[in-house]
Amino acid sequence: MTTAALTMNRPHSCPMREAAAELRTEAPLEAGDFAQLRRKTMLEGCKWDVQVGDVTALAPFPLVMKRSVWRQLARQAEKLDAEAVAAEEEISRRPDLLHRLGLPRALRKALAADEPLTPAAGRVVRFDFHLTTEGWRISEGNSDVPGGFSEASHFTGFMAGHFPHLMPAGDPAAAWCGALAASAAGGPVALLSAPGLMEDHQVVAFLAAGLNARGCATHLAKPEQVFWHAGQAHLRTQWYRGPLAAVVRFYQAEWLPRFAAHPGWQHFFRGGKTPVTNPPLGILSESKRFPLLWNDLATPLPTWRALLPAACDPRARPWFDDPGWLLKTAYCNTGEAVCIRHLLTPWPWWQVKLQARLAPGGWVAQRCFESVPVPTPLGPRHVCVGIYTVNGKAAGAYARLAGKPLIDHTAVDVALLLDPHE
């Protein structure tokens, strides 16, 4: 699933020249080469949304990062993940804190139950880094259902083939599929996604191909087709009936309580014996209201505090008349629910403020940061580098470019390559 990032574009003192010290681009591929790469990405890499409205969703050139910068960001991503795991564990023992994350009530109840946590088949998180006037900052961590694997692995790998002096930052899809296959030990794996959502189907189809290549039988299904017997997940479909060795839940956790009539959905979180990804507690740090709990935690979160802009409850006043704050929903998974005042006309902004006032527990206000655009063949572009960690280790990156300081569905995917000599 695409991830929202948010920035503010004020006049800034940091010139693009300084940004170019961190990031640069190479010249675009020849049209024929790029057309071939685009076709391969579609047909072999399951990247089916290569055109979004009037925008071609793949950049014909790579974004190049100094290897030294990558090492620094990768280390930070690993620290962010380790801190998040510790915080999630502490929050899970504190129902009073669970209440403040904006989770649906039924999910809160499931997470607070006494049963043991359902084991995880692995953990993959993507932290979205932005180049700002204050250095690299993150807008969020995607710890529930991060996507972008095809773009980060397949597309990036093909692009790297055209630039032999550069190298990919990693292969997150391979790392993730390797971890899942190890957990499933060759058994059948169900990959769950929402019907009708092609951009999710392409992710599970891509991961399924990776698992098939590692000897796992895979089944693309929807959550209602998983049944739990004595904690064991079973798939009940016309093409397969039987137990599962692992479940890949590419389906937002906060949507699952809508299956109130479906027996056992709570086992995705507690009481299950079949490993499920992402881990059940990942939904806690996925909440954009996660920072509101930090002062009540014993877990220190120094990396999060250093990299994530300040946040406050919408009931607090600072954001209300200050253009330096933006609003987003607690579980916004795309840029559509990120509301930046200067990117909206007065009426939609008024609607947003009203919604945040009516249901403040489902929203968060976050201080904007000043994104520094990078010169590219498309013109100056704001950059988001989503760094994956797989089971705690940095594994690669999903990079996007946007003409406006907001990374949403109109952003262009770009291959991030490293310059090994810098």
């Binding site: 409205g53 019907p195 189809a205 949507w255 809508r258 009539a261």
Partner: protein, 225 residues
């Protein structure tokens, strides 16, 4: 309904010399919303007349190999795939100009022709406004008219109406070809429910946006909808 080229010929201006491009006068952008294989065939016929088919079939077939004769998927896309393979051979023999106008091909059964069994592979899909160019793009390329070709007797599908409404508001004249031997009629698309709503995905996630056709997929899950 079996499609023939006659339905499209019917919208050719009578004064049009038998040129290669049908509908060349005001050059509409056709959107063909017919059951999969029929749409593919019509797209190929239009390709012979200078249009570039753009398939927008957003549904997966069930990936596993399966016994023949069972209906494992809610939307049977295999005939559409067969038609695409077949017609691709015909397209390979054509040389379309780079600026060939597109004809968009949708599967009229994309949201399922029957009530889905809970154990079926749920490959229903919807089309979104972002699957198409904007009205501004159409204007910039000299297109002022769009022609909807739905199944006989049907109007614009709910999901498609979001796009058509936007185009209409953007100054694109809409027409509909209601039957094979009819002439195009003006089409006015009323404002769909939740039209232009902010945070469509969030609304969907909160269960506020189901089956109106313009939002995101989770409403299709029968247990929640």
């Amino acid at each position: 309904m079996t499609f023939s080229c006659g339905r499209i010929h019917s919208c050719q201006p009578r004064s049009q010399p038998g040129g290669r491009l049908i509908l060349i006068g005001a050059r509409p952008w056709p959107i063909v919303d017919l059951p999969g294989p029929e749409g593919v065939v019509l797209g190929a016929l239009l390709a012979e007349r200078g249009y570039r088919p753009v398939p927008l079939y957003n549904a997966l077939p069930l990936p596993n190999s399966l016994p023949i004769g069972r209906h494992e998927a809610v939307v049977n896309v295999l005939p559409t795939l067969d038609a695409l393979r077949r017609e691709a051979e015909r397209l390979a023999g054509l040389t379309l100009p780079p600026d060939a106008p597109p004809v968009f091909l949708l599967d009229a059964h994309r949201q399922g022709a029957v009530l889905p069994d809970p154990e079926m592979f749920d490959n229903r899909s919807v089309c979104f406004t972002t699957d198409f160019p904007s009205a501004n793009f159409l204007h910039a390329h000299g297109f002022k008219r769009a022609l909807l070709v739905p199944s006989a007797g049907l109007e614009a599908a709910p999901d498609l109406s979001h796009l058509l409404r936007r185009w209409q508001e953007g100054g694109i004249a809409l027409q509909i070809l209601r039957s094979e031997n009819a002439r195009p009629e003006a089409l006015v698309v009323p404002r769909p429910s939740w039209y232009g709503a902010m945070f469509q995905r969030a609304l969907s996630a909160f269960g506020l946006h189901r089956a109106s056709g313009g939002g995101f997929g989770a409403w299709m899950t029968s247990a929640s909808g």
